[in-house]
Amino acid sequence: MAAFDVRFFIDTFLIALTGIPVTLILSVIPFLIAIPLGIGIAFLRLKKVIGASQLFAVYSSFALGTPLIIQIYLCYYVLPKALAEFVKFLGIGIDIYAIDPIFYALLVFTFNTTASMTETFRSALNAVDQGQHEAGLAVGLSGFRSFSRIVMPQVFLIALPNMATTAVNLMKGTSLAFVMAVHDVMAKARIEGIYSYKNIESYLGAFIIFFILCFVTERLFKLLESRLNAPWRKGNQAKGGEVEVAL
């Protein structure tokens, strides 16, 4: 085996760095979409809305109970075929195979992340006493106001640590996007490795980049948590004066 090629390592590292925007797109967009969807689905499930509740229970166990890589393959290989058939059936002249694969990647990561987000908000909504909402209604707030001003700020704070875990898992998961021919950090490193046979140098670069990205993400959530360091949480020292918690 050849000695570690420092020069090559630096070169591929720089190439892999150019994949960061794609990795961030694949992480941030599904995460942001998953928040409102997750809240909505969690709500439907807690309210036991007939039909929707069962449907999303199946969805959750499917999305969380199967390997991500299989979901990706299914989405990438089966979905375009199905869409193409569908388009042909409708007689519209759209070339499904011309769609940028990043859309399939966004779709599958959103699908997967929404399921974790649903679970996160389901338990957070459960953790807030029903009496909080009732007290809101009893003082004459509308259902929406009571929910958004009283219940949700408490829900978000409870959900935050799990949201951080979900974000990091999502970011790690995006490294599988290379199988969909999406050029993220992992794909770029991998291509260099394959052509040069210098796998160690290539993957080490990707490893370092992902480590830093995940570390920063985790720190950002920690920062957010201490920023929201709500004085109303048990165990926190209450500050005197008027402290409005902005959420």
Binding site: D129, G131, G140, I150, W232, A238, V243
Partner: protein, 250 residues
């Protein structure tokens, strides 16, 4: 004036409220007593529609709402005519004592923030907690939290305040301060319905006692009447237990 007409409510096959009709006049202080599980809490919750009755009508301050057909708008308006003090306080955990009171004033009554705060301070003063205005609920004792809840209810100037066992979650030594605060409210001439197991207090503060058992109001009268010469057999037995307890206490 509050009018309840032919109110019924079941949970599954369990008939909790059985065709109750009741009129409560302005400034009456009504104590609702009775054995556990007979529907007292349910009756209170039906009045402000936290629980929706199956059948019947609730009227309050000129607004009548039918349990079977009501708009969201009517519900909101009906709720805005009443206030409630819960057994376990239910102060908004993410709001200070002051904000707990201003929340409804600003978002339900439409007051400007400074006015709302001024009003909130007045009410906090009345329950002796002016110095705790900026504390969050978890920093207050149970008795203090319940006094804030009373101030929150008072500030809304409701037609009626509904109390659901306001002292039963409290340590015995904190009960007194809350009862005192309720007595003050009573003296201000606000209509109140108080569900309580504190029979001495009921007798002392109420102008009218309702005894409820198995979803029916069995006894309705002045305190002395109900406590000393109850008409119904069940009430007699309930009162006897109470009097026995009373003797044991001595």
């Amino acid at each position: 004036m509050i009018e309840i007409k032919n109110l019924s409510k079941s949970f599954g096959s369990h008939h909790v409220i059985r065709d109750i009709s009741l009129t409560i006049n302005d400034k009456e202080v009504v104590a609702l007593i009775g054995p556990s599980g007979t529907g007292k809490t349910t009756l209170l919750r039906c009045i402000n529609f936290l629980t929706c009755g199956d059948k019947g009508e609730i009227s309050m301050g000129g607004l009548t709402v039918d349990c079977r057909k009501h708009s969201r708008y009517n519900l909101l308006n009906l709720r805005r005519k009443s206030a409630m003090v819960f057994q376990n306080y239910n102060l908004f955990q993410n709001k200070t004592a002051l904000q707990n009171i201003t929340e409804g004033l600003i978002y339900a009554k439409g007051l400007k923030k400074p006015e709302a705060e001024k009003r909130a301070c007045v009410e906090l003063e009345k329950v002796g907690l002016a110095d705790r205005a900026y504390d969050y609920p978890h920093r207050l004792s149970g008795g203090q939290q319940q006094r804030v809840a009373i101030a929150r209810a008072m500030a809304l100037d409701p037609e009626v305040i509904l109390f659901d066992e306001p002292t039963s979650a409290l340590d015995p030594e904190k009960v007194g301060e809350v009862l005192l605060a309720i007595k003050r409210v009573a003296r201000e001439g606000i209509t109140m319905i108080i569900v309580t197991h504190e029979l001495d207090f009921a007798r002392n503060v109420a102008s009218r006692i309702l005894f409820m058992d198995e979803g029916i109001i069995l006894e309705d009268g002045a305190p002395d009447e109900v406590f000393q010469t109850p008409k119904n057999e069940r009430t007699k037995r309930f009162m006897q237990n109470y009097n026995n307890d009373f003797i044991y206490n001595i």
